[in-house]
Symmetry: C2
Subunit: 508 residues, 2 copies
């Protein structure tokens, strides 16, 4: 995403303008006080989408055997020393010696010298590149200083004098509960848990709107597993023939970007993936985006290059979405973290994290899925945003759309409104999200609903009073068909289906 961060954000702006106007996403927050980069709020319609995405993840993980937990977002410093974040969760920054403006050193280099690969470079190396390429302060042209480190965690004080940090991820707050969790699972492995909640990164000067947040929501799932269980994983056998759009690092090393649409079994046979258990986690993550209906062409699974991985990561794949303005952006990461986390927490807490295995006692390994909820919501909005000759509208899947059914009287007279309210009340008692609207012309009301992605409108017209039928208008085709009022609920159960339900039937 970095390389084009300053490029034309035309499409992004269009999506965000609609989002702000219609109550999906507002910001930067707090808007009435000028706003602060990296903070956004969900309006009423955006919040329903957020709830729907979170619920999809919750239910899908539950079906796959994961149990949810909920830990504090604020923890004392020792937790983040133990996790490695105090030492390692650091961005390289550089300050202009003249105007004192501070920049992310790596991002600055990538802007001025797009062909230079900055990941994995030391502060000294980055300083040297800035000197060699003669990169100056973009604001005042002044000389830039030395590259230094800047910890991305937000700091606070608990009580009078205990240093605490806002968590930069949910994962660590789950790992440190391992002993409790292991007892809960009656010491059986693999055991699966997840946590959905807020996390914080104090980015220096985030400039990519909702794609780079300082406060964001993560959905992070972990499987605690014995090394001996990773290569022979029963759940994997059921799905090993499913094909995923993979971009392994070996392909990328050849400067190629062609997606390998191969089965997970083939990916293992070809050496792109090593472990069955890890491959299964990639599949679990992938299914969420398939269910959300993100078009196949706009997402891919990209393996991290060896020098791109965190030092503890044994393997890492990202689910990426192709934005129109920023190129590919990560929506979700799947990580093979080995025994890094539990070993660190064992060391710093002096509490044993060992479990029984055929080899005696071992520290379990961790496989992780990390969903970025906010970026996933943005991807949904962008992927479904359409501006054509007639309309500006959202083609959201019916099960995700904030409003699923709108009920209109054709006119606000002749008893049409009373009848429409009656239909509305009946539909409100179903599981669907329904609104009633009688303001303005019927055409205007259709457009208003198209714009927020409402898939169906029910209109009560003069024929309704004669034969008890209403029209159902389809957002995508703008066509209408007539249905008897007493068959409306049945009809909508057919029209609005949650893909999770079918998948659940296959899985359980």
């Amino acid at each position: 995403m970095n390389k084009t961060a300053t490029a034309n954000k035309k499409h992004y702006e269009k999506v965000m303008m609609l989002s702000k106007r219609r109550g999906f996403i507002w910001g930067p927050s707090p808007e009435i006080f000028g706003g602060l980069s990296g903070f956004y709020s969900y309006g009423p319609l955006g919040k329903i989408i957020k709830n729907n995405v979170e619920e999809l993840i919750q239910k899908w993980l539950w079906i796959n055997g994961f149990w949810e937990v909920d830990a504090p977002t604020v923890s004392p410093e020792i937790v983040w020393i133990s996790s490695g974040h105090v030492e390692g969760f650091i961005d390289p920054i550089v300050r202009c010696t003249k105007c004192k403006t501070v920049y992310r050193a790596d991002k600055l280099i990538e802007e001025f010298a797009p062909n230079i690969h900055t990941s994995g470079k030391s502060f000294e190396e980055l300083t040297k590149i800035i000197e060699e390429k003669n990169i100056q302060c973009p604001k005042c042209g002044g000389k830039l200083g030395e590259v230094t480190g800047y910890n991305l965690m937000m700091k606070t004080t608990i009580g009078l004098d205990t240093t605490g940090y806002l968590r930069p991820e949910t994962a660590t707050t789950t790992y440190i509960m391992f002993k409790r969790l292991h007892a809960f699972f009656r010491e059986k492995l693999p055991s699966k848990v997840f946590q959905i909640g807020k996390a914080y990164r104090n980015e220096i000067s985030p400039r990519q709107g909702v794609l780079r947040l300082r406060e964001f929501t993560q959905g992070e799932a972990q499987t605690f597993i014995l090394p001996e269980q990773e290569h022979d994983f029963a759940d994997f056998k059921k799905i090993e023939n499913e094909k995923l759009p993979l971009l392994p690092y070996k392909i990328q090393m050849e400067d190629r970007e062609d997606i390998q649409n191969i089965s997970l079994r083939e990916a293992i046979d070809l050496g792109y993936l090593e472990k069955e258990a890890y491959a299964w986690h990639i599949w679990v993550a992938y299914k969420i985006y398939e269910m959300l209906g993100i078009p196949k062409k706009r997402f891919r699974l990209r393996q991290h290059l060896p020098d791109e991985r965190a030092h503890y990561a044994k393997d890492a794949w990202d689910i990426e979405f192709l934005t129109q303005d920023f190129g590919w952006v990560e929506l979700c990461g799947v990580h093979d973290r080995g025994d890094y986390d539990l070993s660190r927490h064992q060391k710093y807490s002096k509490q044993k994290m060992l479990v029984r295995s055929s080899k005696g006692k071992e520290v379990p390994h961790v496989l992780e899925i990390a969903f970025g909820i906010d970026r996933t919501i943005y991807a949904l909005l962008e992927a479904n945003y359409v501006k054509d000759d007639v309309r500006e509208w959202l083609r959201l899947p019916a099960f995700i759309a904030p409003i699923q059914i709108a009920v209109f009287p054709l006119m606000k007279k002749d008893g049409l409104d009373a009848k429409a309210k009656e239909v509305y009340r009946t539909l409100r008692q179903t599981e669907f999200r329904v609104v009633y609207d009688e303001d303005g012309s019927i055409g205007k009301r259709y457009r208003r609903m198209d714009e927020v992605g409402t898939p169906f409108e029910v209109t009560i017209d003069y024929q309704t009073l004669e034969d008890g039928t209403v029209t159902i208008r389809d957002r995508d085709t703008m066509e209408q068909h007539r249905v008897k009022i007493e068959e409306l609920t049945k009809e909508f159960k057919k029209l609005i289906q949650n893909p999770l339900e079918n998948l659940a039937k296959q899985m359980i």
Copy 2:
């Protein structure tokens, strides 16, 4: 609660021991690093209860016309200056001049002089009371210093140098979106919104476990309303004859504590309540606790005494729960905040918060419901904790119980286990939360499920293989009845009902 904070916490300890042992609530967190007062985590079973309570509030508020929003938990200082929290969200503290231990001055006075009323007292007045009553440091007997103020917000830095605070409530983060919300609602009032999320209070030394948290979850609903709409509120007419357990301040002023079980209409006629709209909000809040099945004797609606109210509050009622160890504790507050909030934000942001009314333009008023989610969960656990001669168990309502159905083979042989797994898989595809367990004797398995509040167990026995029936055991009576496998789902739909569904039918 204050007066008995140091009293015997026998019952609380029992509830928390079960909670910790079985994966409801763990803490103080982070446990492996010794824990920090005021921080707790939800284990897998507690988290399901939390989700259920939140979903009940979400759905109930939605039925009543509230739309959900989601704002950042971190905001720049100006927000909290504008809200009044920088100046006013302050606890009185006092430090021992000898050992330097810090205490909440008001709590200390209440411990040593229980008949002294501290609320509303200035720092000078509190200092004087400490001197007059000769209250000394409980730890070392040293002389206590002067009472000073201590701001309860957790502070942080955003970017390099912007001061921010973690929100002490969700409410303010909703109010400051008013202009956006008003546009979303097409400028119609009253408009109703809510937000569920984390909030933080940096208590000096919280000593009441999960009842006094530094990080907690709030569910806060607001109605923006014109003053002229408050006295004539259509929704109120539908429920004005419902009786609530009210304890008005006028009764309390007579040193009485007898609950007035009267209708809301009577409460208005008697002058206990003034506004129909506000009375309706009290009813909305009350219904949640009724649906949760908290026994009537253990909760009440208590009006704040005039000197107990925040200076901006026109009226305030708390829903209180009678704990065994701490007396009455607040679970939920309902507040008439007048135009305080929007007027402040208008002043500090210099953005107009005026709306059209019959009088021209006015700043809308705010009526608020604030649910304390964590305390509500604790109340549920305590109210349903039972220890009798035979068992230690939870009598949780079936719709709230983390596990609703457990499926057991009588023995792990003769095909009983295979059959049980088949039944389990069928039930997993319903909306119910189901587990399978074959470990240990059947008696042990029943006890395990009683302890976590599972209302029903399905056992597959030898008769199942003959006639296709299974037993359903009832947690409360420990009695069993036989049902045909193919009728299980229908049977559980009858046995497990969500009170919201019936209420929704009456309301919509």
